[in-house]
């Protein structure tokens, strides 16, 4: 699984992307965030406020209940502010 981060999520995690193995018991975006938060305080500081985080899988916006697999590119970022 490829994880990518943008804006203040990237700043808090301290990198723009990383490879990570998806644990077998993690099936949804919501569970993936819980898993990341459990790793250490850095992920916790970046992802703990789920209402402030948006997620894309393979470059498409998804909700927290969307399934995730080890072959996915999963992006975490704040609500977008372009235009």
């Amino acid at each position: 699984m490829q994880l990518v981060y943008f804006a203040w999520v990237k700043e808090r995690i301290g990198k723009s992307e990383e490879e990570m193995h998806l644990p077998g018991d993690v099936r949804t975006v919501d569970e993936l965030i819980d898993h990341l938060i459990s790793i250490n305080d850095i992920y916790r500081a970046a992802l703990n406020d789920k209402a402030a985080i948006r997620v894309a899988i393979n470059q498409t916006h998804v909700g927290l209940d969307h399934p995730v697999t080890d072959a996915d590119e999963v992006a975490f970022f704040p609500p977008v502010t372009g235009g």
């Binding site: 990518v4 943008f6 804006a7 203040w8 894309a56 470059q59 498409t60 916006h61 992006a75 970022f77 704040p78 609500p79 977008v80 502010t81 372009g82 235009g83």
Partner: protein, 151 residues
Amino acid sequence: MASISVQETDFDIAAEIATLKGDRTDMGAIVTFTGTVRDIAGDLQAMTLEHYPGMTEKEIARVAEEAEKRWSLVECRVIHRYGKLLPGDNIVLVITMSAHRHAAFEAADFLMDFLKSRAPFWKLEETNKGGQWVDAKESDADALKRWEQLQ
């Protein structure tokens, strides 16, 4: 087919219109929207736009295609810049061309609402107090809902 560019460089509205229009005479209405870097408090030094390469182009193309279908546009063009911009600089250009003016206006309005709430861009404002990520506006999410209700 909509024409999409995500680029660091500035754009020239007149040249973009001329290219898009060519020698066609089946359009009566051309609407452009240009978004520029606004210095609201008078202390903005620069604005940096970060984006998600790959997803940005896909997301804009998807929305532009929907606009073309919904309003039977003759032509549609979106340019969105990224990187470091200064107050007054151009950020985004939307051009819609249609036989009728209301279609061109509505499609451009729709495209901007979707770009604001769906295209993966993030603005970092730099003042003498440091850098600050711009918060998403509630009003932009509300603006999007107008188009869902109309469908």
